[in-house]
Structures are given as structure tokens and as C-alpha cells.
């Protein structure tokens, strides 16, 4: 059974790098190989140019935060954070100073004498973070550290983590299955699936120009339309025809041949009603289609509409709930417009 195959990554110093993928994608295994708790069958790990193969985890000088926090239950907060410094035989005075600074960084000043069982999940996580940072490692490894926290706390901690990382200029390798988290915090994201890397790049690039159907589906939401590539339009653009005859233009994520069955991906927010002001900005080359509103789903800040395009398929569009908006009524006919730049074409995968 292969957990990770052919993973090759270069992570820039001082950057926030995320390994993103569903469970079983190999992201945690990859992280464990960097940490030294898993052994690569082939290949090597280098940190700052130094090979890590011969070094057990305790000699790699990397900070690590686990999903279960792994805060030592029999030691106080102070002793937990001081632990790595005691190992490194730091002077008592220096320890006091650095632990204080670390606790201040995670906003737990005053908690020194408490025991882990007296802390909430979020507080324990911050102790784990302070402990991993107090000895100033060059790299910080984090394995789904926010997974056990509730949504509000998680969002808050995401920002805190990002600020701390920027403040300390520490390289962070972060593992998560939450794509929103990855998009929010990362400088660079590697999307993994089935043990391999699907795409690496900054969040915006992954979101706007997904390289595969998996990435388009995993990150954010996408509408998928099955079609056939008819003729090329230069620079990777293609004219496509959908099952019901709808014709539109899109950009191929990979090289495509004429006549090849493809799937087109368009994000819901990129589809606008033709009468809207935004549609005019799309220009004359915009794609259009006619559809019927089947269902309206209210999500608070916006309303999503399921629009049937007949034999061509179904799409979801998102209309923000703003003053002056003219939301379509259920059952009404609409005309939608969107840009070919926002239409990504992938080879069709058998269902």
C-alpha cells in the first residue's frame, strides 16, 4: 500500500506552506516524514540544505504541533513550555524570560501555574504552540491543529497563527483538509490526493486556475458542464459544445485535442445575470446561456439559485443579498453571462 508517491516539494523560507487534501491523501504522512516519525522508502528530506535522513526526530530541531495538542498532562503550562529549553540546558533566567515571551505571544500570560486539565481545548492548543515556538525552530510543522475547535474559535485562531508566523518569520508547513483554512492562511498550497500532488501554487492561482477537475472541485465550489471541444481559438482557448447544443468558450487547464470530451468548470460567483451591471463589464466575448430558475437557497449573505439549462445541465449561481439587487424568482427564465477566462476545461473523467 502506497501512502505517498512521487512527492517533490520546495518550500520557501519564511513562507506559510499548506498541504491540503482529503483524508488518506498522504498529507500527514508527508509531514511525518519531514518530522522524522515516518521513513521515506525512497527519496530524501532536506532542511536548509542539510539532509535529514540520518537524524532522528529529536535531533531535527523542528517545532511540531499535533491535532491532539499532546500537552503533557502532568506538567504545568510553564513546565510544558519550558520543556524544550530545559532539554537544551538553557539557563533558568533565560528560560523564565523566553517562556514569558512565548506565553505572551499566544496570549496566555498568567496561566503559568495551571494544569492542562484546567484549560479549554483552544487554550491547550495555544500552550502547544508556545511550546513549539519557544526554542525558535526554523520550521514549524502543524498537523491539523485547529481540527478539534469550534468554527468561531477556529477562524479566530487561523488569523492569530498567520500573524504569529509573519511576526516571527518562521517557515510553517501546515496540514489540513479544510480548504477555506488553506486559502485564508497560506502563501502557497499543495493540493494532495491519493498520495500524490495535484497542484502547487499560491491560493489565488489554485482557485482561479485549477489544474485538474479534483482541484476545481475540492477548492471552493464549481459548476461542471460536460461538453466536447470543437475548435481551437489560439493560446489554449477552445470553442465547446455542451450536450444540449450550448456553445461557449473556455481555457484548457491542460493541452486538449479537437473532438475530445471535456468537462468545463465555472465558479458560481462568476455567473451573473445578463441584465446586471456586472455583465456589461464582461465584454462582447462573454459566454451566455438561457436557463430556468429551479430552486432558491438562502444562505444569509447571499442566495444561491439552481438554474436548469435544459439538456446542457444544471448550474448554481450566487447572488449577494444587497440593497437594490433584483433576485430572480423561482420558475423565472434567466439569461446568464460569464467570462471565458473563468471557464476552465479539463479532460472528462469517467464517472
Amino acid at each position: 500500500m502506497v501512502a505517498v508517491r512521487d512527492v517533490s516539494l520546495t518550500i520557501a523560507p519564511g513562507s506559510f506552506f499548506t498541504l491540503l487534501g482529503p483524508s488518506g491523501s498522504g498529507k500527514t504522512t508527508t509531514l511525518m516524514m519531514v518530522a522524522g516519525f515516518a521513513y521515506p522508502t525512497r527519496g530524501e528530506v532536506f532542511v536548509d540544505g542539510k539532509p535529514m535522513a540520518a537524524l532522528p526526530p529529536q535531533k531535527r530541531d523542528l517545532g511540531m504541533v499535533f491535532q491532539s495538542y499532546a500537552v503533557f498532562p502532568h506538567l504545568t503550562v510553564f513546565d510544558n513550555v519550558a520543556f524544550p529549553l530545559q532539554i537544551r540546558k538553557t539557563s533558568r533566567l533565560e528560560i523564565l524570560h523566553r517562556v514569558g515571551a512565548a506565553l505572551e505571544l499566544v496570549r496566555l500570560t498568567g496561566y503559568e501555574q495551571r494544569l492542562p486539565r484546567q484549560l479549554s481545548g483552544g487554550e491547550q492548543q495555544r500552550v502547544a504552540l508556545a511550546r513549539a515556538l519557544v526554542f525558535r525552530p526554523r520550521v514549524l510543522l502543524m498537523d491539523e491543529p485547529l481540527g478539534a475547535l469550534d468554527k468561531k474559535l477556529r477562524t479566530h485562531m487561523q488569523l492569530e497563527l498567520k500573524h504569529i508566523q509573519q511576526h516571527l518569520h518562521v517557515t510553517v508547513i501546515y496540514v489540513t483538509h479544510d480548504q477555506e483554512e488553506a486559502l485564508t492562511m497560506s502563501d502557497c498550497v499543495a493540493v494532495m490526493q491519493g498520495g500524490g500532488i495535484e497542484q502547487v501554487g499560491p491560493p489565488a492561482e489554485l482557485y482561479d486556475r485549477p489544474a485538474s477537475r479534483f482541484v476545481a472541485d475540492f477548492l471552493g465550489e464549481s459548476n461542471f458542464l460536460d461538453a466536447v471541444a470543437v475548435s481551437a481559438n489560439g493560446e489554449g482557448r477552445w470553442r465547446c459544445r455542451a450536450a444540449g447544443g450550448l456553445e461557449f468558450y473556455g481555457v484548457g487547464a491542460v493541452p486538449i485535442e479537437a473532438g475530445q470530451p471535456i468537462t468545463a468548470a465555472v465558479r458560481p460567483e462568476k455567473l451573473v445575470q445578463a441584465e446586471d451591471a456586472g455583465a456589461a463589464a464582461l465584454g462582447p466575448g462573454a459566454n451566455t446561456c438561457k436557463g430556468l430558475v429551479e430552486e432558491a437557497i438562502y444562505v444569509g449573505d447571499a442566495t444561491r439559485y439552481r438554474v436548469g439549462l435544459g439538456a446542457d445541465g444544471t448550474v448554481t449561481i450566487k447572488v449577494p443579498n444587497r440593497v437594490g439587487a433584483r433576485p430572480p424568482a423561482t420558475g423565472a427564465a434567466v439569461v446568464l453571462a460569464w467570462s471565458p477566462e473563468d471557464t476552465r476545461l479539463f479532460p472528462r473523467v469517467a464517472a
Partner: protein, 270 residues
């Protein structure tokens, strides 16, 4: 099963419960009676004793040979405790953490002294030590008892280690601690209740044991249990009741301490 259901889900009801109570009394009565009778002032062991006295305890602790027997039993048991706990802890660490195929077989081998009837183990050790002219040696008895106590220690330690979250040790390693430091500062403090419990049971196994020291004792070097055995062959001396109470007391203390440790253990691990 909940107590409420108990009344509906079984036949008999009151009769069965009464029977169970009777059996519980049957189980505990002999032990209780011996303890009470040991305080008897009369020459014969009657129950209840006509008047209480400490005479049998005075006989027990006043006779040099009994006192010596306490010393022998204690020394053997302490040695057994040290040997068995050390060996068992190491073995349990390997069994719980290790990843190799022979694990099931090795586990069976470590537990095998529990399966073999003690009389066989005892004569095997006797033939072994007789050849080395080492009968009557406290060390020989301790080594023999270690064989018996090892399975108990391994079982208790394996359970304690399985309840221990390995990620705590991984965290310690990631923070730079050596394997030994991680074991010393993180693992051992957290499995200490289990470790002490295993040590106590090793002690008790040795202290209670009769068959092995029966063969390995010398004339001078007898454990408490062997001394009881020899006395019983001769006569039913009431002093033995006091000795028995003493042994029951040791058992109670060990069980109590072990239960206490288990309670402590549950509060320190998250």
C-alpha cells in the same frame, strides 16, 4: 446491565439474590473467621473466641524461626519485585510499541508460566538449582518467583502502556528530548500508577508462593509459607492463624494500594 432491568430479566428474583449473597458469604467468611480467630485467647480455635488476646501474635513475632521466615519472605519478594518489574516493563514496552511479526508468539511465551502447573515449574527449578548446589538460596527463590511474576507484570504494564498516548512521547521528541529523557520525564511519570501496581503484584505473587520455595528452601532459609506448611504437617498450631492473618493483611494492603493507584492514574491522564 442496569439494576432496574435485573429484576425483570431473570428468574427467581429474590431466591437467586439470596443464593448469591450466601455464596458471597461463603467466599469471605473463611478469611474473616481466621482473622477473628487469630485474636482468640483460648487454647483451641473456637468461633467466636471466648475472649480476645494477642497471644498468638506474640508467639508468632516472638519465635525466632517465624521472624526469620518473615525476613526471608520479604527479601525474596523484594528481589522478585525488582527483577520482575524491570524485565516486565522492558518487555511490555517492546510489545506495545514494536512492529514485528512474532509479537503474538512472544506474548504467548511471556505468559506461558501462567499456563504450566506450578508444581512442574517448581520441580524444574529444583532439578536446575540442585545441580548448581544453590538450594536454600534467597536469590534462587527470587529468580524462581520472577518467572511466575513476570506474566502478571507484563499484562499490567502492557495495559498501562496501551492507555498511554504515544503522541505525548512524539511531542517530547519533536521538542528535542532524547528517547531516554522522553521516557524518564514524560512516559514514566504518567504510567507510574500502573508500574507501582505491577510491582506490588509481583511482590504479592512472591510473598504468597509456596510450591517453589517448598523445593528450593533450605533448613535455615524458609519462607513464611513454607514454615506454615511444615507446621501444618506436624500440628494445627493456633499460631498459624496469626501468621495467616498477617498474610491476609499483606494481601489487603497490596490490593488497597493498587486500587488507590488506579484511581490516581485516572486523574493524571487526560
Amino acid at each position: 446491565m442496569m439494576g432496574l432491568e435485573g429484576q425483570r430479566s431473570g428468574p427467581g428474583g429474590v431466591a437467586v439474590t439470596a443464593l448469591a449473597v450466601a455464596i458471597l458469604v461463603f467466599l469471605i467468611a473463611p478469611v474473616v473467621i481466621i482473622v477473628i480467630v487469630s485474636f482468640s485467647g483460648a487454647d483451641y480455635l473456637t468461633f467466636p473466641p471466648p475472649y480476645l488476646s494477642l497471644r498468638w501474635y506474640q508467639r508468632f513475632l516472638g519465635t525466632p524461626s517465624w521472624r526469620q521466615a518473615i525476613g526471608v519472605s520479604t527479601q525474596v519478594a523484594l528481589l522478585t519485585m525488582v527483577f520482575a518489574t524491570t524485565l516486565g516493563l522492558l518487555a511490555a514496552l517492546a510489545l506495545v510499541r514494536g512492529r514485528f511479526r512474532a509479537k503474538g508468539a512472544i506474548y504467548a511465551v511471556l505468559l506461558s508460566p501462567m499456563i504450566v502447573p506450578t508444581i512442574i515449574t517448581a520441580i524444574g527449578l529444583y532439578f536446575f538449582f540442585v545441580r548448581l548446589k544453590a538450594t536454600g538460596s534467597i536469590l534462587a527463590m527470587a529468580l524462581g518467583h520472577t518467572v511466575l511474576a513476570l506474566p502478571v507484570v507484563v499484562i499490567i504494564m502492557a495495559a498501562a502502556l496501551q492507555g498511554f498516548d504515544m503522541r505525548l512521547e512524539q511531542a517530547a521528541l519533536s521538542l528535542g528530548a532524547s528517547r531516554l529523557t522522553a521516557l524518564r520525564r514524560i512516559t514514566l511519570p504518567l504510567i507510574l500508577p500502573g508500574l507501582l501496581s505491577a510491582a506490588l503484584f509481583a511482590f504479592l505473587t512472591s510473598f504468597d508462593e509456596l510450591l517453589i520455595p517448598l523445593f528450593l528452601s533450605g533448613v535455615e532459609v524458609q519462607t513464611l509459607t513454607v514454615r506454615i506448611w511444615n507446621s501444618l504437617i506436624l500440628e494445627v498450631d493456633p499460631t498459624i492463624a496469626a501468621v495467616s492473618s498477617f498474610l491476609i493483611g499483606v494481601t489487603t494492603v497490596v490490593l488497597g494500594a493498587s486500587a488507590f493507584l488506579r484511581g490516581r492514574g485516572e486523574t493524571t491522564t487526560t
